[in-house]
């Protein structure tokens, strides 16, 4: 991955009538980066991807691909190629003909064309299946054909529109590993659209989380999971306990707050942080709370009682009621020590790390009209 920007999106908005599908989106994606657009359906992520590909015309703004302003270019003139959600395998052509489809325009010599098709099929591990028809392929194989067909064009950017959503869980996990390996091997920019947070976390160098046509946060997977900027981002990325807290004081980049029962905590101010009435929301992930057994002691602990329990195989999800808190806390405990055997109503103690709290900014109001 280099520092050179491969995709530069500047103030892109897309209106359908007065409905805002994209609302002033700006971002930059580096050469060789694996970048994900993550969000719920209808958040504008697919519209953004299709704008880069050239299938949507943003109402305002500009998209630079490798430094070239590209909005005026039709899809067939852009150095991007796409893997469609439905894969869009041409049903009247076999695998090799599908892969060679775009090469035909390049007027290569027959040997050169054959070699490039062969290489592309090797790369996605489909060698030997060149003569198969689309209907003779499994879902995973179709996806590989779609990948090979796009990569054989040697695009500067590969666009992937929910490429794994049609596969079953096991195959999806296999393909995730393969996709990441493939991206490292070809070294070009991949932009992935997905609504699956685990997929985005596992694959990406960076993730942009989108809501309501706007970008809520762009960061590395680790940062986005551990330091979500707003409550919505935190919620979308996984389980989170939200707590009301009172601001005690601000010093530069740090804020001291007081959360009922957890005591005073010093936290880093997120970007766009502001408090009007001296109250804020903080969050702590369920797995950052830990059960204390028998004589275990921790610097920060809290007493509570099990209200509910759900067994998930490798872990148990616990709901713990704490006196003085409006909402019970969720926590996740591995089943090494017998958390799955705790009776409901049992009195327990739990440990926490004040560092694990995240201060969350308010989400902007939703208005797409």
């Amino acid at each position: 991955m280099s520092d050179r920007a491969m995709i530069q999106i500047e103030n892109v908005s897309k209106f359908y009538g007065i409905y805002k599908a994209l609302d002033d989106v700006s971002l930059s994606i580096a050469e060789g980066e694996f970048f994900s657009l993550l969000g719920p359906s209808g958040c504008g992520k697919t519209t953004l991807l299709r704008s880069i590909a050239g299938f949507e015309n943003p109402t305002t703004g500009e998209i630079y691909i490798d430094g070239v302003p590209s909005l005026a270019l039709p899809p067939n003139k852009r150095p991007t190629n796409m893997v469609f959600q439905s894969y869009a395998i041409f049903p009247h052509l076999d695998v090799a003909e599908n892969v060679a489809y775009g090469l035909k325009r390049l007027k290569l010599s027959p040997e050169e064309e054959k070699k490039r098709v062969g290489d592309a099929l090797d790369m996605v591990r489909l060698s030997g299946l060149g003569r198969r028809k689309a209907h003779e392929l499994s879902g995973g194989q179709r996806q590989r054909v779609a990948l090979a067909r796009a990569l054989v064009m040697r695009p500067k950017v590969l666009l992937l529109d929910e490429p794994l959503s049609a596969l079953d869980k096991k195959l999806r996990e296999e393909m995730q590993v393969e996709l990441r390996t493939l991206q490292k091997a070809v070294g070009i920019t991949f932009i992935l659209v997905t609504h699956d947070q685990y997929e985005a976390l596992a694959l990406s160098d960076r993730i942009a989380v989108m809501f309501d046509g706007r970008i809520a946060q762009i960061a590395t997977p680790k940062e986005i999971y551990q330091r979500p900027r707003t409550r919505k981002v935190a919620d979308f990325l996984g389980g989170m306990n939200f707590l009301k807290a009172k601001v005690l004081g601000e010093q530069g980049n740090a804020v001291s707050i007081d959360t009922a029962r957890f005591g005073a905590v010093q936290l880093v101010k997120p970007q766009g942080f502001a408090t009007s009435d001296g109250h804020v929301t903080v969050g702590i992930r369920p797995e950052r709370l830990r059960l204390l057994w028998d004589d275990d002691r921790a610097p920060h602990e809290l007493a509570g009682r099990i209200e509910n329990r759900a067994y998930f195989g490798e872990v148990t999800h616990l709901t713990v009621g704490i006196d003085g808190l409006e909402q019970p806390l969720s926590m996740v405990e591995t089943n090494n020590f017998g958390a799955d055997d705790l009776p409901i109503g049992a009195e327990i103690r739990l440990a926490y790390d004040p560092e694990a709290f995240v201060l969350l900014a308010e989400d902007p109001p939703v208005s797409r009209l």
Binding site: A53, G54, F55, P74, P75, N76, K77, T80, N81, M82, F84, Q85, S86, A88, I89, F90, P91, H92, Y101, G102, R105, L106, A134, H135, S138, G139, G140, R142, R149, A150, M153, A166, L167
Partner: protein, 274 residues
Amino acid sequence: MSLLTQRLRFIPFLPIYVALYFLFLYLPILLLPIFSFNNAATTTFPLAGFTTKWYASLSGNSVMLEAAWNSLIVGLSVSLLSTILGICAARAITRHRFRGQRAAAGLIMAPLFLPEIIVAVSLLMIVLAMGVELSLVTVILGQTVFCVPYAMSVLVSGFEGFDRSLEEASYDLGETAIGTFRRVTLPVVAPAIVSSLLVTFTISLDEFILAFFLSGTEPTLPVYIWGQLRFAAKLPGVLALGTIMLVVSILMLTLAEILRRRAERRTQLAHALP
């Protein structure tokens, strides 16, 4: 439960009924070929022996051959015209959403829901009111109105599954709009188009009322047959001619059905998810 009712339960009433229904459907069209080979001028049982003389008599019948030629011209023109119009309408309906879509489609499909005589009478009136001479051209124009709904039904079912992302994938891989039409759209929907051509040709070949009202002095085959029906002696010849038309129709329909299914398989595949 008594033994009788238990026994009754095992009689496959419904399959027997369906078999009888099929017999009812096929009886009339099976009789034509049977009597066309019967060595008698009347259509009575028992059969009088095998002959091909009725077929032989057709080959020297210049009026009939003229009518057959007219039918061929009309059939080819109608199938081409109605399929082209059907393609436009089917594509508009399966690919685009616009106001007035239902109304437009309703008007185009209306001939299916109108007594044919009314369509024929109104066409006759407008043709004569405009001072146009009745000819094969007027038959072609009229039968096209009648055939477009059928073409459209065949084509809509062929286009319906055609995934828009197939065309987008083609643009994405560097192909132009014309190239995409030639390399993706046309090959994928080709079976549906051919199927529509065959179906509309068959309808035109067999269509009588519009041809009867609009053909003037140039009869098509059904109009010719109509003229022959008054003469009992001509019946066996008509039966032979009818048998040939029947075989042609069934062959074309079978071919159309095979192609339609292939089209369906292709387009279903194009967007089928595992």
